[in-house]
């Protein structure tokens, strides 16, 4: 495990061609990411990678200069990355938010709702199944970091629209 | 001896490896010796069985296969409190050794 982490530190991050789904029009960042700790030490880092145990709020002081935040899911059952994503969006982060690692079909919809707008799964997903997963729900019960938040009214809000 | 058991992927029914396939009846179970890993890997891939595993068992005087652990004995026959729902052709004398 420690060995694997060390390996990754040398070559951190996913490249744009590993991204299978991207819901943005801007040019993707073409260089690797640094760890949260490294980002705190460098004043010029523009791409960061968040591991499950990292505190996403550590990035809040320099959100404006970030163009890419990767959130790693080493195992799909570890849901901390969902909170990290929402926290960044709640703080106004508008850059690319990429889910990487053990990203599977059935987590895509929730990830999108938490603010992820690009996806680089370890194993390429069935395109058709994935697009169906993104479109599973016409409506939502909760306010979250859904894309176009102001445009997506929750069910409760729609019920009480004047 | 070592035998293999699991649940049928589609129906969930308890099944036992009989050497060529998966039987509903524990008495069909065969000793797999040291081929456990090989058979399990192959059978999981065919998706006929779900989460199969190897257990210890013995054959009693009348030729019935008897799993060693109480949990697999309950699986072989059915709930002890609903004997009307027992595995259809299971050995009815089995209730004496389940517990």
């Amino acid at each position: 495990m420690a060995c694997k982490e060390a390996e990754m530190a040398d070559n951190l991050g996913t490249s744009p061609d590993e991204v299978q789904f991207r819901f943005r029009d801007d040019e993707p960042v073409d260089h690797g990411t640094v760890t949260v700790d490294a980002a705190l030490d460098q004043t010029n880092a523009t791409a960061v990678r968040i591991e499950p145990g990292d505190d996403a709020r550590a990035l809040l002081p320099f959100l404006e200069r970030l163009a890419l935040v990767e959130v790693n899911f080493p195992a799909f059952g570890d849901g901390r990355g969902y909170s990290s994503a929402r926290i960044l969006r709640e703080a106004g982060y508008v850059g690319e938010l990429r889910a990487v690692g053990d990203v599977l079909i059935d987590q895509l919809n929730h990830m999108r709702r938490c603010g992820f707008d690009s996806f680089a799964p370890d194993n390429r997903l069935d395109e058709e199944d994935a697009l169906r997963a993104f479109a599973t729900w016409d409506n939502v019960y909760q306010r979250a970091a859904d894309p176009g938040q102001s445009g997506r009214r929750t069910i409760a809000e729609q019920r009480h629209e004047a | 001896m070592k035998i293999l058991t699991g649940n049928d992927l589609r129906s969930g029914a308890v099944t036992w490896w009989n050497g060529t396939g998966w039987s509903l009846f524990v008495d069909d179970a065969v000793d797999v010796g040291d081929e456990v890993e090989e058979i399990l890997a192959r059978e999981v891939a065919t998706r006929r069985v779900n989460v199969p595993y190897a257990i210890e068992a013995s054959i009693d005087a009348s030729g019935h296969v008897r799993p060693a652990h109480i949990k697999d004995r309950v699986r072989a026959l059915g709930p002890t409190v609903r004997r009307d729902l027992a595995v259809p052709t299971a050995d009815k004398t089995g209730w004496d050794w389940v517990i």
Binding site: G79, Y82, H110, A156 | N7, R10
Partner: protein, 542 residues
């Protein structure tokens, strides 16, 4: 009762199709069992000892006759003619096929039911007081708040892969009939200076490390309820332990941080969440509340004819005071002497559905004690109701007695169990009934779990029994002094365990000690609390 609108219906319908697709991908080999397992669990589908098991949600334990009839139909069409009601007000079917599961969910959706999040590391079915909307002692009906939480927690994008499962109970009475403080979050709706709000408790639970939830907030205003819950969950999702499955429940986080520090973190997150704005409009709570307005109660007799002693005993044991004095709530015991606690046949479910239509404004409840309840029965109708129940074997007058045993499915059905629970419950109820001791002993809550996960609530039993594996044979530990009610306490182990016959004899011995020692009006639990463990130990091991 709550009724779905087109949005709620579309959500459950979409979920059925999502699951149908997931099951297809599993059967086609596109999903491994490891990947599929959490998905099927979040739709209530387990793999148990003999087959798949489906757990269907009965939100806050409330359902109508049509829903109960559907549960009966499912038992016959897809299972083996019966179902098992659980301590979290759900129903389980034991003999389900994976290839039928999506069709069952579709049948459920037609009557506004589902199996969403009845398992998995997510927010589970919200449970509540089974007397909600009927009890004379409640501040308000707690179910609108439970429904608001149901909608909020359904498909929550952030809280679907929590460190571990998460159970919430909502009550609105000083009397706790939902084991509220033994939940991950317990909510008590209270009235303060004319305003309704919520007390929040966090970090309770049973399992291998039982804990009583401390209060973390004494008043959350109604228009901040969801926001506060969201904050409490986010702190747990971020900081709950994920290194060890057995330490992953929120109770461990609250315990390790200390209630004060956990509360501080929740309050900090809460302040932030308020600024984000996640609360549904207050009008939504009002809308939900209109679904729970009182039925048209009518005046009538307030007493019964006691000339039939069997009927009188049933009324005394199985009915509960109602807020309207010409009505009562009537418990339908699923604990016939020698029976399987919580099991009901399809025919029994249909009869209960018919009686609910006839005598209880088309409303039914599932109790955490694994019984059913008709919440609003006119006292004038009680005799007719009792006669119908009695004729169907559902008239056992044993609520809260030693025959009213909570028991998990145990090793007869459950793949986690170490020992059987049901045969013990059957034999104990037979032993006490045959000796005529049930009424003599009075209120005594006996709870049996077949493993340390404590689904049978043994930590909260006046008498608790835990089944363990002792070198391949079943062994049972006895504990005394637990309570899930407002006088909540955790039971203590008496000493070395017993075999099956031994633990049944031990239960008799501790009740002997109670009968010989009790002061006037004392329940078993009261006597235990007064005299302590020693006299019981002496009788058992001395």
């Amino acid at each position: 009762m709550y009724q779905y609108d087109q949005y709620d219906q579309a959500m459950v319908d979409a979920r059925v199709e999502e699951f149908r697709d997931q099951a297809r991908r599993r059967l086609e080999g596109k999903l491994t069992e490891d990947q599929f397992k959490p998905l099927r669990l979040m739709n209530g589908l387990y793999l148990q000892l003999h087959a798949y098991m489906l757990r269907v949600a009965i939100p806050y334990g409330t359902l109508n006759a049509r829903q109960m009839e559907t549960l009966a139909d499912i038992a016959e069409k897809y299972d083996r003619g019966y179902g098992h009601f659980t301590t979290r007000q759900n129903i389980q079917y034991n003999w389900i096929k994976l290839e039928d599961a999506a069709d069952i969910l579709a049948d459920l959706a037609k009557v506004e039911m589902h199996a969403i999040q009845t398992s998995g590391n997510c927010i589970r079915n919200i449970s509540s007081d089974h007397f909600a909307g009927a009890a004379a002692d409640e501040v308000v009906d707690p179910r609108p708040y439970a429904e608001l939480l149901r909608q909020w927690s359904s498909f929550h994008p952030e809280f679907t892969y929590l460190p571990r499962k998460f159970k919430i109970a909502v009550i609105a009475s000083a009397n706790d009939r939902a084991a509220m403080r033994l939940h991950d979050i317990g909510i008590r709706i209270v009235s303060r200076e004319g305003k309704i709000g919520a007390e929040f408790y966090a970090g309770g639970g049973m399992g291998r490390t039982p804990m009583i939830a401390p209060m973390i907030r004494d008043f959350v205003p109604l228009d901040q309820l969801i926001t506060y819950a969201e904050a409490a969950l986010r702190v747990y999702n971020r900081y709950g332990r994920r290194d060890n499955k057995y330490k992953a429940r929120i109770k461990i986080l609250v315990h390790e941080l200390g209630a004060a520090e956990y509360t501080r973190q929740v309050e900090e997150e809460f302040a932030h969440m308020l600024s984000v704005g996640v609360e549904p409009p207050l009008a939504e709570l009002e809308r939900i509340r209109t679904h729970f307005s009182d039925p048209a109660f009518v005046d009538g007799p307030k007493t019964i004819d006691r000339s039939n002693p069997d009927f009188a005993l049933w009324v005394d044991r199985n009915t509960h005071r109602h807020k309207h004095d010409a009505h009562v709530s009537a418990v339908i015991s699923l604990k016939p002497v020698g029976g399987i606690p919580g099991d009901a046949t399809a025919d029994q479910m249909r009869l209960v559905a018919r009686l609910a239509k006839q005598y209880s404004f088309d409303e039914l409840r599932v109790m955490h004690t694994q019984n059913l309840l008709l919440p609003h029965v006119r006292i004038a109708d009680l005799h007719a109701l009792w006669s119908a129940l009695d004729a169907a074997g559902l008239g056992a007058p044993n609520t809260d007695t030693i025959e009213d045993i909570i028991a998990c499915p145990g090793l007869d059905y459950c793949s986690l169990a170490n020992a059987r629970s049901i045969p013990l419950a059957q034999r104990i109820s037979e032993r006490f009934a045959q000796a005529g001791r049930t009424e003599v002993v009075g209120e005594l809550k006996l709870k049996i779990s077949g493993c340390i996960n404590a689904c049978g609530h043994h930590h909260a039993g006046h008498i608790g029994i835990l089944g363990v594996d002792k070198k391949g044979t079943e062994n049972y530990q006895l504990s005394l002094g637990g309570s899930e009610a407002e006088d909540v306490s955790l039971a203590k182990i008496t000493g070395p365990g017993f075999d099956e016959d031994g633990v049944i004899a031990a239960v008799e011995k501790v009740t002997d000690v109670y009968l010989a020692t009790r002061a006037d009006g004392e329940r078993f639990l009261d006597t235990y609390r007064r005299i302590g463990m020693e006299p019981f130990k002496e009788a058992l091991y001395g």
